[in-house]
Symmetry: C2
Subunit: 158 residues, 2 copies
């Protein structure tokens, strides 16, 4: 597990007194689990949503069904809305989202297994990155959470 | 990680075509992470909510602030509402909840570290159990997720 980058995120969030909320799909709760690993994490971690079904994405994260239908659940557009909306729901400083294809099933012609979109939102902007991870399901999920933590740390750096 | 009981849950959920949603506090997403570990889990896992802050418990899981104030967030009453409400939100067959004190801080006079409430809700009933786990933070979180899976498997047995 990516504990080194997690410790950095922990330290920076406490130093800067910032809070975070998380919306996950393919990583299935791993990012939330990591962000609550270190004692004292309740000072910055407010909410995690594992929106696995499309219905959950609609009902809990207010992603319009037509947006999912148009862009698919694994898209930058949906990832951006996940990050923005979980931040607003939780009233946190940051919203982090992960949606992708951890496999072994679920690949499409232009989205192979390992395609993952990760977004970071604050009140000023939402940045998204698309990744193409290699490895098995567990490795892809782990790498997704790790990269999300990296994005957060980068934003928190001076 | 409790993969043996997880495999049982996976098999039973598929066999009986049942769906599940999860509301977690102290376990921080571990139960969701486990329930999405095995390929094909999207056929039964619909939603996970890691309601770490009281505001998240109120806003996402509709737990009244006065209920939290009266019973505290680590109580059978709040755990029951978490299980019931996440089930209703997700429209799943089962709702599973975990709330407790993983430590090292957070203990009170009558609720030492390791006190964990786990509830399982379906449309007919909600059952809750109180546990007193030993060990460190990581061990308590792991045991909590494991016992939640045990409760689910027991309910799914013929």
């Amino acid at each position: 597990m990516p504990y080194k980058i997690l410790k950095q995120a922990h330290k920076k969030l406490l130093e800067k007194k910032k809070t975070v909320a998380v919306a996950e799909s393919c990583s299935g709760g791993l990012l939330s689990y990591l962000l609550t690993d270190i004692p004292g994490s309740s000072r910055y971690f407010l909410l995690g949503v594992v929106a696995y079904s499309n219905n959950s994405k609609e009902k809990i994260l207010n992603i319009p069904a037509k947006t999912i239908a148009r862009y698919t659940a694994v898209s930058g557009r949906v990832a951006a809305l996940m990050a923005e909306n979980v931040r607003k729901k939780a009233k946190s400083d940051f919203g982090l989202s992960i949606t992708g294809i951890a496999g072994p099933a679920g690949a499409t012609a232009n989205k192979p297994v390992g395609t993952v979109f990760i977004c970071l939102s604050d009140k000023n902007k939402t940045n998204c990155r698309k990744f193409s991870f290699r490895g098995n399901r567990r490795q892809i999920r782990k790498r997704s959470a790790e990269e999300a933590l990296r994005l957060l740390c980068a934003r928190l750096s001076p």
